[in-house]
Symmetry: C2
Subunit: 330 residues, 2 copies
């Protein structure tokens, strides 16, 4: 029996996940492939298209038929209306790259492209922690800090779909350098990259200097998971660094509470696993800075969906595409 | 001939304005009276009701008949759905005060209450600088800093109508004390109250110590207008203080650009008159901290409506009341 479905594709720095998602948000079929993000701009896009096409073929072979819609989530600020990626942290070659046009040419169907953090937020809104809520602030603490905003039950896009870059609010004017080129952004404190910077500063090391092996993963990269293990073993440095990250996370969350008066703040991403080591300093800032009545109405919770959140969200975005606002004159 | 209209009432710390506003936003009739904000909680509300009732009588006598709707804008965070004022900077006696219930009892008609900054934002959206725009951030720099947010063409209320407290985002974690009880808020730098604090700190004076007469108005109060006059005369201290306020205004605006990707940032209130002395440092921060593509899409402009903005906005709010969201369970 054929079942209506949408294709959700989520591209990360290392892997691409493609899934067939039912209209209720159930994952019916999923496959994973490499991102090949180091390739040339078009080759990276063509690799996405190839993996989408493979899933389309698999779905056909599996009796699912054609999807209702196709959504592709990619990192970096992008214009959801034109389908152009401005810049992507993991894809060096994408600078003002017309991703949607290229994907549609290679797939032969309409494609919706969306920022990965926005798609993830939609996944949590559809099937995760934010289900049934109307006003939600979502933060994903990964390599960088991504954000998604649900206001009045709708994803906020802004003028061209670049809204909700919540990792790039200033939390310390003369603060740590951020990968975005500015400094003192939330991302410079509450992401893998930010945490590494804090460790380096604390130890008086040069940027990207070698770190102790206990802070690294098996491939030798700085690892939030390794830092979390250290914190669990009462390592003073790890606890201090997470406390500092928690302070800045709390400063940003307090501002978001005063700005959005949300019901819920959802925190996901790899660093959400260390929330218990950040919570004390985070909540101290929230209590000090957010209006009491506003803070009382909002819960701060962890994301509910695992790695499937991205593909579920991309499918949601495909089924609920952004409506192009009328372009007002200048 | 009878003309359809709405009643807009705007209560400030000193005066109340009540106006009959046409469905196109034209002010047909306006009157002004004292706020008497130092009175007891109910007496302050009854004074508003009395002035509304007087305008209703005047309108009837003038042949306008009954209004379509009545909107009352008051300072301070309030729950627009329940009509309760949490706290109001100028009305000491209002603490969790059920304003709407009291007004409706005294006026005998349905009343919409709204935060004054939100109402002002609606005025600019309806008839001012933000006319026809869909994504707008509005800041009013007065005694404090008020905010309004238009997202996708709609005023953002959040869970209970306390959203858009844009003056209370943190711009300097260990910064100046703010009237809200926290510290380092935008309001602690870019409002009359914040500016006074900066002057006191710069001169090494105690809080609320006497200031030079050239910084005061005729009643002896610290005056942004007097400071603006000093700046126009190249007074070094005044220029330095406005440059500092501009820096923090720019830091906040950069964050708002990254969060909302708006078409427009509208700046109003008494301190908007000093924008030319703040613009250089403000724009330096915006250029440094906001994503280029986002900053390029947003203009930063002054509010277009004068003191009538509040009553026009209150009438708009009355004609477009917030819809109560379905209360989700916890």
């Amino acid at each position: 029996m054929k079942r209506a479905w949408a294709l959700g594709c989520d591209m990360g720095g290392t892997n691409i996940r493609c899934a067939a998602v039912s209209l209720d948000g159930d994952v019916l079929m999923m496959r994973r492939g490499p991102s090949l993000a180091w390739r040339a701009a078009r080759a990276v896009a063509d690799n996405i298209a190839e993996q989408v096409n493979t899933l389309l073929a698999d779905a056909k072979a599996g009796g699912l038929g054609a999807p209702r819609a196709i959504g592709v989530a990619v990192p970096g600020p992008l214009n959801v209306f034109s389908g152009t990626v401005m810049a992507a942290p993991h894809v060096a070659a994408w600078r003002s790259f017309p991703l949607r046009a290229r994907l549609e040419a290679k797939i032969g169907r309409r494609v919706i492209v969306e920022n990965d953090a926005n798609a993830w937020a939609c996944g949590e809104f559809w099937r995760g922690s934010a289900r049934g809520r109307r006003d939600v602030v979502l933060l994903t603490l990964g390599t960088g800090v991504g954000g998604g905003l649900i206001v009045g039950g709708k994803l906020v896009h802004g003028r061209s779909g670049m809204a909700a870059e919540l990792g790039h609010v200033t939390v310390e004017p003369d603060g740590m350098p951020c990968d975005c080129g500015s400094h003192g952004c939330l991302e410079a404190y509450a992401s893998t990259s930010g945490l590494r910077g804090l460790v380096e500063r604390r130890l008086g090391l040069a940027r990207r200097a070698p770190l102790k092996s206990e802070m690294l993963d098996v491939e030798g990269n700085f690892s939030v998971r390794a830092m979390t293990t250290l914190a669990r073993r009462h390592d003073r440095l790890a606890l201090e660094i997470f406390a500092l990250a928690g302070r800045y996370l709390g400063i940003a969350i307090a501002s978001f509470l005063n700005v959005f008066n949300p019901e819920l703040v959802v925190i996901g991403g790899g660093m959400a696993g260390a929330l218990s080591y950040m919570r004390k300093t985070m909540m101290a800032e929230v209590r000090e800075r957010a209006f009491t009545a506003v803070a009382r109405e909002a819960r701060i919770v962890r994301a509910a969906l695992g790695p499937r959140g991205g593909v579920v969200g991309a499918a949601y975005v495909a089924l609920n595409p952004p409506s192009k606002p009328p372009q007002s004159g200048r």
